[in-house]
Symmetry: C2
Amino acid sequence: MNDVRPTLEAVAARAGVSRATVSRVVNGGLNVRAAVQERVREAIAELGYVPNQAARTLVTRRTGAVAVVIAEPESRVFSDPFFAQQLRGISRALSAADTQLVLLYVEDREDYGRIGRFLGGGHVDGALMFSLHSDDPLPGIAAAADLPVVYGGRPGWEGEDSLGGDPLFVDTDNRAGARLAVRHLLDRGRHRIAHIAGPLDQTSAVDRLRGYRDELPADAPHDLVAEGDFTPAGGERAMTELLTRAPHLDAVFAASDLMATGALRTLQLHDRRVPDDVAVVGYDDLEPATWTHPPLTTVHQDVEEMGRMMATLLLTRIGAGTDDPPAPVITPPLLVIRESA
Amino acid sequence: MNDVRPTLEAVAARAGVSRATVSRVVNGGLNVRAAVQERVREAIAELGYVPNQAARTLVTRRTGAVAVVIAEPESRVFSDPFFAQQLRGISRALSAADTQLVLLYVEDREDYGRIGRFLGGGHVDGALMFSLHSDDPLPGIAAAADLPVVYGGRPGWEGEDSLGGDPLFVDTDNRAGARLAVRHLLDRGRHRIAHIAGPLDQTSAVDRLRGYRDELPADAPHDLVAEGDFTPAGGERAMTELLTRAPHLDAVFAASDLMATGALRTLQLHDRRVPDDVAVVGYDDLEPATWTHPPLTTVHQDVEEMGRMMATLLLTRIGAGTDDPPAPVITPPLLVIRESA
DNA sequence: CGATGATTTGAGAGCGCTCTCAAGCTCGTT
DNA sequence: AACGAGCTTGAGAGCGCTCTCAAATCATCG
């Protein structure tokens, strides 16, 4: 192991060419004679040359890395399959473009400082942000750092404003998805349909609640809503509350599969049969939906693909420029019928 | 938003001092008069100056980031609470030292190339590596890149060799832990004790198997071992196999809690009562151990603390130098008795 | 065969920062 | 008052790379 890494200079000397020529070869070899390229590549191999990333970043102003910021504590990030799935799509797209991914999550409020410093410090070329809450400082931080961002899920603000134009995001049509779910329950003859909402400071939760209300007939009870937090435990709590407030409910639409699993557990604890006594519909169509007893009827969204799209959007925004101006993407939801409803 | 970021030069001009002085203030302000420091800090604030990381890295040869490499596919990384917990400890220690964490996992064999390029590319000052398998190329890659590494779990090789001296690692005493588990089962009067091992190309799995064999009395059956893969599904498969081979077993020691949960499910499916018919002991004492019915008796290891130790070890190895030569750490296991055995 | 244009190559100027070294100060001491 | 011992400060070199620009080389053709 040579303790000191060879530089461009060393390779150039070895190959008998100039630094500039080696640089050209390293970066694709445009306009370099084949014979020379060959010689340079040999020198690179012999010396075990690896470009110094810092030097390169210093002059190109590109780091080749993007941040993925999730506004949730680490425990949620690593336990919610939604993030895992999304992250999978993102990694795929990113590593195809030889771009590194730096994962950041928000453990507590003071982390915003650290994250702000990181995003502003020029460590990354852009950011993907998830799970923003309505008063989230992250968009402001990114704007202040002049950093391109793509949001996962429609952010709370839209259009021209202080944060610099239209936000770029990838989302599913949550409202339509919720309507699909409720429609299905109505079609199955259910009337007392409750809703376990997500945290109402997130647009996805709000949109799903709105869709639920849209579809409910005028004569149906409209107040059977409890707010959860997208976790199984939150689903349990919400279900317990609903059961107390409306013991005779005959269906539940949960705003996420994870909350639905919690609801399922609670219903079983209270001796309600699913779907006979109470029908349950989830949202997301992630793995847990297939594990439960009975398997969950749920609203599908292609989370991995959405992750991929986010990454692609960000890459084009960062990359060449405006030859294909990226625009927000909204994917259609799809009802998947299993056994819980 | 100023499109162009202010440089040290700009701050220096504004504060009426030299670049060097501003640099000193930014880096702690040693040997700079209080009045001057004040003036410089004002200039920094007014201009919104943020140091350019690349430039700094170029001269200091420190990136302020470390990689965490997990030799498992992303789906495992994000579903196994062991990694989540470990990662939590690591993040804590790292962000306390203002060091960034870059997470890398190995999706398939060809990822090794990408990871090698990344580790060799000078993007990070060191690496934390987990879940290595016996023939893993990662240690070689790190050695080739001359990168300080701390391993999670004793690596398969030890002592002086081609990979450059003693590997630094943090582990728990797996063998002793396994003995604790088996001892407990024996004390409860169990005799036909099976073992669901982890993948035997990992030292932790081998050591636990060894501990299990150590403690088994000479007249007990020694062949009730099935190999799992540390996942719930693997636990199910192994349990099914064991039940076929030895329908009368009265206890199972699983090498991880996750496999134990799978075993539990399978046992219930086969109408075995736990712990009455079959006692079950897990390993790790992570969250799932408390969720199961019945809650798992298991061997505790402080995974988060171990993560923190790994990070600390790496930081000292990277940092100052040899004033406190870091050494491998082996933590003691602890039996936690709940209801499954 | 010289002119024209395209292609290939090298020299050299930075990118923004740290760090060494020497010069300029401030003091306490004699 | 003079002098050496710290403190503070600034000048300037240099980290390894990219990129512009001009020089050199090659190809093409009237």
